[in-house]
Symmetry: C2
Subunit: 334 residues, 2 copies
């Protein structure tokens, strides 16, 4: 502790280390100084129990070491997994995360941007559904899953490649008549490429494919009708289904079982996301798994990049197929 | 905008509103002024696009309008649901949440307290597993699910009452030989009362009850052995099981089904938490549901209470029984 018993200041650290006040300031703000100086300052700071006041720092260097995360929810599994990994990635880099929960409301998203301005964060990460979202050009901003423009970096899983992979896996497992089912936000986003990749792969192999692309507000009834229309003598004329999310695959499996069809014996199902029960237990279904940690780390690395002139416009991160009980074993090769 | 094109200051607002600078400051900091003054200041601030700089505010009034949440994970369902609701409750009260993820590591939890000191938050909420956690006495702190001492308010679901409710529901549904199974942290906490309430209720009704209380590191094998030991001619001598969490109930159901036993026909199961698949879809099992939103709101209200001399030591919030497929219908009364 400093001699007078109150919290030690940078001046106390400088005195203890026998260096100039400016040197302490540089070390505390991560500005390079000689290695010997850096060590002396750190040793003195530790000895005195010196604590950086991040708010004072925010004013003086214009850095707050906080980043905002704009996200629809912290409780839905994909968003919570992403928030968890973004928080960990920021913490590892000496940053705090401030989450802003929007509940998919475009107005709330715009309101977040206003609040972020007040909070003087160093940057923001957004998983947003407002097609007209206005972001301050001077605020470092990285978007996840929805491409804004070439000047705003976007990070996503390889949605197109994931759709292709789903088609490949279903065909390898003997499927011959495929369908793509989609629900979600009506706002266009990167996730729409899941179906595109799936259809392109099927067509390139001359395989028949049908698509039903709906939005959340359409509910499940149109999917039930679609399935009933494909029943012939209590057998489904489709034998492989790719769903745009694990959640949809879970609901479709329930519909199929209500119709007396067995998964995966009668029809095979693949979802997208790689969600697990209780966050880390069994998969819900066979799935194209998103690399959530890698998405978070890449996003944070781009956000904190010093050179703002060298930012990628779009980064797609590789996905993996994971069997989760709704697909059959592929036939042995040989 | 202010005349010179740069961001407007409080002075600009005072000039525009025709009031003293001190009046603007009072309005911005929520200190009461005459209603007419308040309106004039707000109208001027809106007109000029004046933004409060929360960091400057943090230094001047010693308030940062941020609260820390110390939590093991943001991705496990109960924690993510809680973080979501805490974030919403804080936002509704004009506060930001800064989550600190500890991954159940007692050292990381203590490190959080150190970081929180640096970040000068107004208070902290902790869901912690460090029995020796040292919290600054001057930092407003509310703990969830683990009681520290009479001077640190603790909020939890009514764990004891939940255990009693589970016993009541199983007995109503015809169970006669009950068991309580527990896994989790070895650190004592409020959640231990789930089993206590269950056993007390059973004994008060003269019903036989066995308990197996383990920790996470013991794994599932001791539970499998326990179940095998209670098999007699491929029937289980136990007909009702209360598990300390939904997650454990899910794993126990899998074990029972592997042993050829049917849930709920041969044995009924109740979990605790009220977790749902994908965060908001079907329950995993019949369960004693925690009032997660109410827990979050109560915690935040206590944290932000102005009068620190009137804090409750312990608040237990009521739980509900939800049928989720692992219990039978109760027999008709009449």
């Amino acid at each position: 502790m400093a001699k007078n018993g109150s919290a030690p200041t940078m001046k106390d650290v400088a005195r203890e280390a026998g260096v100039a006040l400016g040197t302490v300031s540089k070390v505390m703000n991560g500005i390079p100084v000689g290695e010997d100086y850096r060590r002396r300052v750190q040793r003195a700071a530790e000895k005195l129990g010196y604590q950086v006041n991040n708010y004072a720092r925010g004013l003086k260097t214009n850095r707050t070491c906080t980043a905002a995360l704009i996200i629809p929810s912290l409780s839905h599994p994909f968003f919570s997994a992403l928030a968890h990994e973004v928080c960990q990635a920021l913490t590892a880099r000496g940053y705090r995360m401030i989450p802003f929960v929007t509940d998919f409301d475009p107005q709330a998203e715009q309101e977040c941007i206003r609040m972020i301005r007040q909070n003087k964060v160093d940057g923001a990460i957004g998983l947003t559904y407002n097609p007209n979202l206005e972001v301050d050009p001077e605020l470092p901003f990285v978007t996840i899953d929805r491409y804004f423009s070439a000047t705003v970096p976007c990070v996503a899983s390889d949605n197109f490649g994931g759709g292709q992979l789903a088609a490949e896996k279903l065909l390898e497992r003997g499927c011959r008549r495929l369908a793509f089912l989609r629900t979600g936000s009506p706002v266009p986003g990167e996730v729409d490429k899941r179906g595109d990749g799936f259809e392109v792969y099927c067509r390139s192999r001359g395989v028949e494919v049908e698509s039903l692309r709906l939005n959340d507000e359409d509910g499940m009834e149109p999917f039930a009708r679609f399935l009933r229309e494909h029943l012939e003598e209590s057998r489904l004329t489709i034998d492989g289904i790719f769903c745009s999310t694990d959640r949809l695959a879970y609901e479709i499996q329930k519909l199929l079982e209500q119709m007396g069809l067995r998964v995966p014996e009668d029809v095979q199902l693949i979802g997208y996301d790689g969600m697990r029960k209780f966050g880390d237990a069994d998969l819900y279904c066979s799935t194209i798994a998103q690399p959530v940690r890698k998405i978070a780390e890449t996003t944070v690395d781009i956000l904190l990049k010093e050179d703002r002139n060298q930012l990628p416009a779009m980064v797609c991160l590789p996905v993996t197929y994971l069997p989760g009980g709704t697909t059959r074993e592929p036939p042995e090769k040989g």
